[in-house]
């Protein structure tokens, strides 16, 4: 398994119109974890800051979307060894875009169990900033 395949699978799963509050939260959490690990894997440390800021924004988005349960993301550092970070960035942006689209749609149909409308707004704002930060 590589980090690219993890991302591709996630985007595929979310694109099948079966996004729920819990999967959106899990996807945001996954995106944040991938960005954080990418910052550590970035060979040019001076260029790591966009990954760090993206990770923080996406983590904040996940926090806003979190419901009663906390999910855990397991990423193996070895998955980044051969990873093309430009490719990772592109796929990560796609993942964040899907979650953001769901968030914006959910704002119109507020009333998802466990998540208040303000949480969607906060999450959407963080997701936008996170998407901006992804290198």
């Amino acid at each position: 398994m590589t980090i690219e395949t993890v991302l591709r699978d996630a985007v595929t799963a979310l694109s099948c119109n079966n996004v729920t509050a819990s999967t959106a939260y899990a996807a945001a959490k996954l995106a944040a974890a991938i960005a954080a690990q990418a910052a550590a894997a970035e060979p040019d440390s001076a260029a790591s800051h966009p990954w760090d800021f993206a990770a923080l924004e996406l983590d904040a988005a996940a926090h806003a979307l979190r419901q009663d349960t906390e999910v855990v993301v397991h990423l193996d550092e070895a998955w980044y060894a051969e990873a093309d970070l430009a490719q990772v960035a592109e796929q990560l942006r796609a993942l964040v875009t899907v979650v953001l689209a769901w968030c914006v749609a959910a704002l119109d149909t507020a009333g998802q169990p466990g998540v208040a409308a303000t949480d969607y707004q906060i999450a959407a704002a963080h997701l936008r900033r996170g998407a901006d930060e992804i290198p």
Binding site: M1, V6, A26, K29, L30, A33, A36, Q37, A39, A40, S45, A46, S48, H49, P50, D52, F53, A55, L56, D59, H63, T69, E70, V71, V72, V73, H74, L75, D132, E133, I134, P135
Partner: protein
């Protein structure tokens, strides 16, 4: 904007006290009026001394209390209105203003402690532990000497030649003040820049909208951590602090690059970034049962970081225009404030994580179960301190301070004094107080019978210290105050006994007193409040030849 600091207020008071002395010869205020004002100055200085010594009896405090009593003893009842008559009398007016500045300084100092006397800020923790106590007392001593001099010359003119109890009280203040102020040269103290402690509680901190707001939020975050690191820091809060710290370090990197990007700066920034990132990553998947977010301390730091980032970044890139617009000087100050705060935050985060880990307040995911290998919804189990995730987190936050200190030197800022200095001093005192080197290494060469009698009180005292220090469950505030007070007592007792034993040995055997190991010549010897001719009533010297 003028910032009230402890050092600034003391400096103003010092200047006014000096001026009041210079103006004294030409304009003497009415003695009753002067008694009231100078009595208030003495009382304020007394409160300073008591706070700095932790309530332990001190000659300067005793002398100041005595002088305050005598200063007002001649005041009629009802007393004259101070404000109504100080205006035409420069000396009294200057002294009144000095008293006011001392009062403000006192409030700044007192704000570092809660109503129960426990430290509520990092500076309070350091003060409780006695960090820089000698130099702080010396500063108060210099002010007390100035007040006594003003009292002597600006009063009714009789105090200088008077042999009564009031003049004796002034002389006691002068003697004690000169003695204590001679123990440390005037110099920089961590208290100089001390600001009034902020009230940090509840579940929110206002949005930060300015550089001043950033500085206040940094103080608030440190104050909040000082109150929580040894009680209830949660896994989520550790992650919040680590994340905000990581972002601040990245922003400092950008600010540093605006001043030139030399190799050393690059290395230091990389070192600090990796340390804070490691802590942030390690804090993932370590949680506590208390899921409430938005506590004032982490929120303050997050809000400060958010504002800084909004000023420096937009759309995923750095904003050079804004930096030029808002002024380099303000950003330099803010960068220094951030680098001053980070080491202190790192230390408290480290201690807080260790506390939470050892008190089983952290939870980690149960071993993975079949299913999605990447995203799981696990059961959470209470973590032992040796749980790998907790060990990793503890090690990561332990590595935060050193790179943060290096970063502060890059910005020519000195880190705030706090828990780090307190724990170091605490450890040092405990080591000094319990080291076996303080006992004679070859008792057979000493006059055994007398010396063994003299040494009897030592082991129980040292044992009590060890027991209290080892048995204490709280670190920092309570533990520090307990062991520091005990260590002080034990070390002073040991030093007095050692001196007595040396003298006894000399008188009995006519030999040269043993040379002390350098470790025994501690600064505490100079801090001893005992007068030079101290002799414990329980340890009276035997007559020569009785051994």
């Amino acid at each position: 904007m003028i910032t009230v600091t402890y050092g600034g207020e003391l400096a103003a008071a010092r200047s006014l006290l000096t001026d009041s002395h210079l103006n004294a010869d030409t304009t003497r205020p009415p003695p009753q009026l002067f008694g009231i004002i100078v009595g208030q100055v003495y009382r304020t200085l007394y409160r300073h001394t008591v706070l700095l010594t932790g309530g332990v009896g001190h000659p300067l405090a005793d002398a100041l209390a005595d002088a305050a009593r005598h200063a007002v003893s001649q005041v009629p009842d009802p007393p004259p209105a101070v404000d109504a008559v100080t205006e035409p009398v420069p000396a009294a007016g200057l002294l009144t203003r000095a008293r006011d500045h001392l009062g403000v300084a006192m409030e700044v100092l007192a704000s570092q402690f809660g109503p129960d006397g426990d430290a509520r800020t990092p500076a309070g923790i350091a003060l409780t532990a006695g960090v820089g106590r000698t130099s702080h007392l010396a500063a108060v001593g210099r002010l007390a000497a100035l007040a006594a001099r003003a009292h002597l010359h600006a009063g009714d003119g009789t105090a200088a030649t008077d042999t009564g109890s009031a003049a004796e009280a002034i002389r006691r203040v002068t003697t004690a003040a000169n003695a204590i102020s001679a123990m440390a040269e005037p110099g920089d103290s961590f208290l100089d820049g001390l600001r009034p402690a902020l009230y940090v509680t509840g579940a929110a901190w206002p949005a930060v909208t300015s550089h001043t707001g950033v500085h206040e939020a940094l103080d608030a975050a440190r104050t909040w951590l000082a109150q929580h690191y040894a009680t209830d820091l949660t896994g989520q809060q550790i992650r919040q602090f680590a994340g905000a710290g990581l972002a601040l370090v990245q922003e400092l990197g950008y600010l540093a690059r605006q001043h030139g990007n030399d190799v050393t700066a690059g290395l230091r920034l990389r070192y600090a970034t990796e340390a804070w990132r490691n802590a942030y990553l390690a804090a993932d998947n370590v949680v506590s049962l208390d899921h409430s977010d938005g506590a004032a301390g982490p929120t303050a730091l997050i809000n400060a970081e958010r504002w800084v980032r909004e000023q420096l970044r937009a759309g995923g890139t750095w904003r050079n225009d804004n930096l030029a617009l808002t002024g380099q000087a303000e950003w330099s100050t803010t960068a220094r404030e951030i680098t001053r705060a980070l080491p202190d935050l790192a230390t408290m985060l480290h201690h807080g994580t260790r506390f939470s880990a050892t008190h089983h307040d952290l939870y980690t995911p149960a071993p993975r179960h079949p299913g999605n290998p990447v995203i799981q919804n696990p059961e959470w189990i209470r973590a032992e301190p040796q749980t790998p995730a907790v060990l990793r987190l503890t090690a990561a936050v332990a590595d935060l301070r050193e790179p943060s200190v290096l970063l502060s030197s890059q910005f020519e800022a000195s880190p705030h004094t706090g828990l780090h200095e307190a724990t170091r001093l605490n450890r040092y005192l405990v080591e000094v107080a319990t080291t076996p080197r303080l006992w004679p290494s070859e008792p057979s060469q000493e006059p055994a019978s007398s010396i063994s009698r003299l040494l009897e009180p030592l082991p129980p005292a040292a044992a009590a210290l060890r027991e209290r220090a080892h048995g204490a469950t709280r670190r920092g505030g309570a533990t520090t105050s307990v062991s520091i007070a005990l260590a002080h007592d034990v070390v002073q007792e040991i030093q007095r006994l050692q001196a007595t034993i040396d003298e006894l040995g000399t008188r009995i055997s006519g030999s040269t007193p043993p040379t002390r190991h350098p470790a025994e010549t501690t600064p505490l010897r100079n801090k001893s409040a005992a007068p030079a001719d101290f002799q414990s009533p329980d340890l009276a010297l035997p007559e020569p030849g009785l051994a």
